[in-house]
Symmetry: D2
Subunit: 463 residues, 4 copies
């Protein structure tokens, strides 16, 4: 995120708040005040990490921010972002959404050349590569050189002294978009961050494109080309906010469409259709519209479960899910119910919810899922569980149905899902659903054709 406004830390605070669903573990902001970089990071939600006092200690008209998604590693401050590195007269701050597949190799190679690291994060690897290339080349060539080395997903916000750069990987795996606000430009993971600043979405950052914000001006250059993009399909299913527009598609529409297609592919003889909140709500509305089955909520979520909530111990384990979600018993008793959710990962939560709904008196529980079965792990930025833990990696749909004790279980087809989104069918990363990845991942199958990166023809650049 970058902007030429004076009180940019405050604006980044609001933008990060709008993106809070993308990471709740840690938050950080770096700004540049014309002379030097100021930075503050902490463990927790944006609103927990930053106080008025902290914001006031971050003067500057340009800056970047980050919310950290809890992937691997402990909750340590050291791995929080933006990561800062210093080199000669330059301080470079990097905020990274995504995951590198070859960070181990790159790190080894950099260490072979003598590089020393302060953290275990792949973001520091990117920062080191960048610092090196910037010594040799102009900015565009330096970034292009770095991109040639990186294998993985990476939407990046970089601040190099007072220049802010937005960068999207050549496959466009993770989202990134550009917006205009009153007196500046914003680059953000989702358009809701632009909305929060009362701005206007200009367009998505293209795969392989770099957006440079300097002295109040924006320059966009496509650096690297790939035969076709590989957008993470799970952003549409689950990760993004419904009110975001991502690669031209409104997530809300996509999810209504998914529900509608689910109703076609997996009809049910039922009295009501009910979402598992919050993720299943929009899909359930779509299912209801298409099927004509009455929409009625069976489960109510408690809005107040926070970080410090004391979860029930052994003696009350049954109650654990109840702290987060309650059944509306009279809506359930004697009913044949279609329960709609976005996905099944381990199956544990689905099983508990089906049990809760049956305990509340449901006659039948038909589970409908807005994604195909997840059969393989994600290496590109979504913390989905290992292959061992993924229930659909080891069981047929019938097997999963038995485990979660549903009267019927239907997953949307991959074709249906892609149709719901409305982008070309070969424009996605569907690794978790097919086991075939758009990048070479050791031990996994890849669409080897996809990663033939070429430099972008120079005449395509520009702002």
């Amino acid at each position: 995120m970058g902007d030429t406004n004076k009180n940019v830390a405050r604006m980044i605070y609001y933008a990060l708040h709008a993106l809070q669903h993308r990471g709740q573990e840690a938050a950080g902001i770096c700004v540049h005040d014309g002379k030097s970089i100021h930075s503050y990071r902490g463990i927790g939600l944006v609103a927990e990490v930053f106080t008025e006092t902290q914001i006031a200690l971050l003067p500057g008209a340009v800056g970047i921010g980050h919310v950290r998604y809890p992937t691997s590693g402990a909750h340590t401050l050291e791995n929080s972002q933006p990561i800062l590195v210093k080199y000669r007269d330059k301080t470079i701050a990097v905020a990274h959404n995504g995951n590198l597949v070859n960070s181990g190799e790159l790190r080894s190679e950099l260490e072979g050349a003598g590089d020393i690291f302060s953290t275990t994060s792949d973001t520091e690897v990117i920062a080191h590569l960048l610092v090196k290339e910037i010594q040799r080349y102009d900015l565009a060539d330096a970034v292009r050189a770095v991109m040639r080395r990186l294998v993985g997903s990476y939407s990046l916000a970089i601040m190099c002294n007072d220049t802010v750069i937005g960068l999207r990987d050549p496959l466009g795996i993770k989202p990134l978009c550009i917006g205009a606000i009153d007196d500046g430009i914003v680059v953000a993971s989702e358009s809701v961050a632009i909305d929060a600043l009362n701005g206007r979405l200009i367009r998505d950052v293209a795969p392989g494109e770099m957006v440079v914000l300097r002295d109040g001006e924006m320059n966009c250059i496509r650096l690297v080309n790939s035969p076709r993009p590989a957008h993470c399909i799970f952003e549409y299913v689950y990760f993004a906010r419904p009110d975001s527009i991502m690669d031209t598609k409104l997530i809300y529409d996509v999810r209504v469409n998914i529900g509608s297609i689910l109703a076609d592919e997996h009809p049910a003889d039922a009295d009501i259709v009910s979402p598992i909140p919050d993720s299943g709500i929009t899909m359930a509305v779509g299912y209801h519209q298409r099927s004509g089955i009455r929409y009625k909520e069976c489960l109510m979520k408690n809005r107040y479960v926070g970080r410090t909530f004391i979860m029930p111990d052994q003696s009350m384990r049954e109650a654990a899910v109840r702290m987060k979600m309650n059944t509306i018993r009279p809506n359930i008793e004697g009913q044949r119910i279609v329960l709609v959710d976005d996905s099944i990962v381990r199956g544990t939560t689905s099983r508990r919810i089906v049990k809760m709904v049956k305990d509340a008196g449901a006659q039948k529980v038909h589970v409908r899922i807005g994604s195909p079965p997840i059969i393989a792990p994600c290496y590109l930025g979504i913390d989905m569980a290992s292959r061992d833990e993924l229930i659909a990696a080891h069981k047929t749909v019938a097997g999963v149905e038995t485990v979660i004790d549903a009267d019927s279980l239907g997953y949307v087809s991959l074709e249906g899902l892609i149709r719901a989104i409305g982008l070309p069918e070969d424009h996605f990363c569907t690794g978790c659903l097919t086991g075939i990845y758009p990048l070479d991942i050791p031990g996994e199958r890849s669409m080897s054709s996809q990663r033939r990166l070429t430099d972008f023809p120079p005449n395509d650049g520009g702002g």
Copy 2:
């Protein structure tokens, strides 16, 4: 809330968590361990106030808890509850939901008799009255004597040494219900607290009834009778959770019914119906079902706004509402939209939301409200604003329509609302909607007949 389980503080913690929507200002728990009372209170949400350490310092098999609703006064710990008073060998803890109308008079009278207070709360007045009467009479007679003195709304949880008492005022203004859990009895404001403990709702506490929990046994006695109850009608419209059953009615059903009746009373020529989240969701579903107009969300709420969130300052005031709620622009552009909400208090928020939706490109915005106009203040426990601030106290519906800039505005009728609930029409307090109160309130009109309290015929008691 009372229970005979060993780890009762932990259970009260979960129950309070389920009731968190009833008050976010402060939370407190008192327990009795067979010898003495232990108490802890703090400012903030239940999950913020209590840690494992605090819970561990509250040993005991019986107890009561409270979440404080921010009415008047500063956020001081002194006014948090349960309030404790000590008298000879007795320690009495009182948790109060509601508001006394005559607390000033009672306080003066008690002061006339020499009573000295530590707080400004009306709960301390109740505690003093109770202590006095308990010296003279047995428990039932003492509580009856206190009830004769109190004018106002009061659902009370009282702990007198190791006896826990639940008490509901003679008009049953505020809710109170009884549930059975594995090894004990719970009395709580809403049935969701019983659900959280995996318990079973037994029934509502009757107006004027006292529930005594002692040595693992429950005794119920109706102490005072009133010609008819006066349940707060706003609990159904707004305050209670949709998954609660209150005075035999499921709130979810009531709100669907309200939406349905709204559709009949105020149809609209529109493309979509959308709730103002969260309060309008269930009513919007009802409107959609009855009208056949497509259900589509136009507004998305940010789930992460917390206590410490830094709100935009003057220069970004427009953005304030945007931090909490975002428009889904593509769902809005060119559409004729029915926006459903539960109520309009000052009109400020409604005006801002209508503006946001119009700015996002709506062709028409028809506002539909699930309650009649609020024309008078609440003296009985809901912090609704003063008469001056209430927009409908000074303007006709057409006037409000103009102020909020809606293309049309329709409120459900009082008759429609009562029909949606399904209880007899004279069983409600409708003070805020009619200006006529079930109790004598200085300067206001009252249904004088209602408050002719009589002692309940002794043969009606029992457990």
Copy 3:
């Protein structure tokens, strides 16, 4: 403490800070802004409880404050002071230094008359008595009436609406003094609080005297007379700061005198004299001066041990005392040492220190104590331990010498101590040293003559 300055909370903060040694458990400030009372209390040191924000929320030109000494009871906020009680149009805040002997009786009697309490503290009893009498009499008569009822030690700061009152018990057990600052008057427990505000000590408050500060004016009235005072002798030995002047005597001088008299009464054949820091320092200087034995420190205190310090567990118990105090081994080896301390309570610490010093190579350790043996508990405000725990209550001096493993042990005589102070011999409470108390204490012996209180002749009052 009272003052007519605008920013009085800030000044009280500094005064409390100077009095921090009198109580580290909790701190509180109440101020009056001309309209109402504002109050804030918290657990911890003054500097921990109050921030700039808290001070800013306490506007007012008059006020009182308190630091709480950890006597009995848990570290609960409820027992922190000033205690506030409300009665009709009056709010009365009371801060109390001392201990009532008859608070149980008074409480029962007040309860008999219907009084209800919020805490278990004797200060609330005083507040209740005061509220009652103020209804009936003018201020002087009301306070006199209260004093007739109280048996015990009590220096009080009272704020009744915007009037501040300082009051000292008829025996003057606890200290209280008056000072002038730039634009106001201060009443405080020790003169160092006046020094902290750059003020000038005017005089001690006389036993039985009331100081009234109102509208910038001071009025002093002696309300109750006693044949002679009974100043707590332990204030001189241990409790007060050396730089305070108390009942006309500089504590520093008193302690040098004690050391000097100790040297006469218990000379030693030694190479060096060393204090046990910090309490023994001034006495050791006196011993050195009188005896001519070289002053050399053998023990060094760590200044940084704070509230949250993690003390060694079982496996390192020996180290516990080492965390607070270190031996200076080269100053000790082969030396015959006089170790000077102010008192021995349980004997445990003395034993550990003698062992440490011997382990560090001392040839002889002669212990000299600046008070006579403590043979009886204190009922009047110093938390000294129960009779069971007091080593000198059960052992002769020779017995104590054996337990602490000193080569010789000498206590100053009571006569010597009184001579060191320089006030008449019958002007002290020496309960802990003699077992004879100036007040009737059930089960203890008393100087029954002393408590024949009479009203002070009216012509003695005035300011």
Copy 4:
């Protein structure tokens, strides 16, 4: 600090606590549990940063710790220590006491070779050099190679995986010593850290010596030799604790000697000699012993001033020093007083104290200082102020006397100071007192002969 005990984090905690006077800004501990390094750092005192929980999260039998002295830079967590760097299979943690003179050059050079940094601290420069050399050489040669590059003062605790290294710079500028505890070896800045663990001081680490602790064994190797050491003379005057033994000398004795020599060099016709607490106490005792002038304290320090203390604002500036120190007026009135302090830096505090003592009625105030005038800045680890701020850099003794308004002013001579310490006269760094430094410092004069470092003859090593 290193040790083979199981609960080493806890022991490091106690050792750091004993060294708290060496740095109050931040504290950190790193331990190795046989597999990996665990680390925790925070802003504040040791007792504020670490809780039982934090200690429990630091398992391991070896470790190092650090307390940070507030030199330049903001109070940022990033500059706190130990600093961690990661390189291939090694994690290296470095804790540094001292200051590099050539860190800018080294940093540039490393950057020239491509090194990238995460902080602005010179400790990270040391860590990088070390990582590089360790790839090429065995440990002793690697460390020797690093030492050849470093110009400045550095006592280092290094942990390279599970090997702990203590290292003292070739001039021995900063202290470092070795101690034996029950089941292990400790290397620490001062012997009081060994005392805290009930250990026994073995000896000082020699200048240029490396101590290696691995698998419970200690190996000592002198790596680099210098013609003579250059111990920081200010450690003796002010910085070290009186109970430490440093380079074989007990600090307490040194300070008594200083006082004694001061009395010879600058006698005074006075009634009493009084320290400025705490730093002047031991010197004042020495002055008293030699001069025969009575020892009597005139100033009393408040022990409770902490980090969060609210200092007086403009309107009370006079009071600022009063918050920390109070005059004992009766000890001062009419007296001719010798005030003894360790040093004068800016003169501001001395002036305020002299004024306070005169305001309290002193007839004469003779100031005696236990160090020669500070005429030049320290580049080697003590935050003394810039040359501009140093009062004695610009004024004669008579000039300083006038500024601080003393009746006479006497500094101990450099010869006297060195005699008081008792080490050879050319074994010190006296840069701040003479302007001549033992190292080449750009723009300053140096004892150029001193820094002719040679490798230590190999037969001198050993343990």
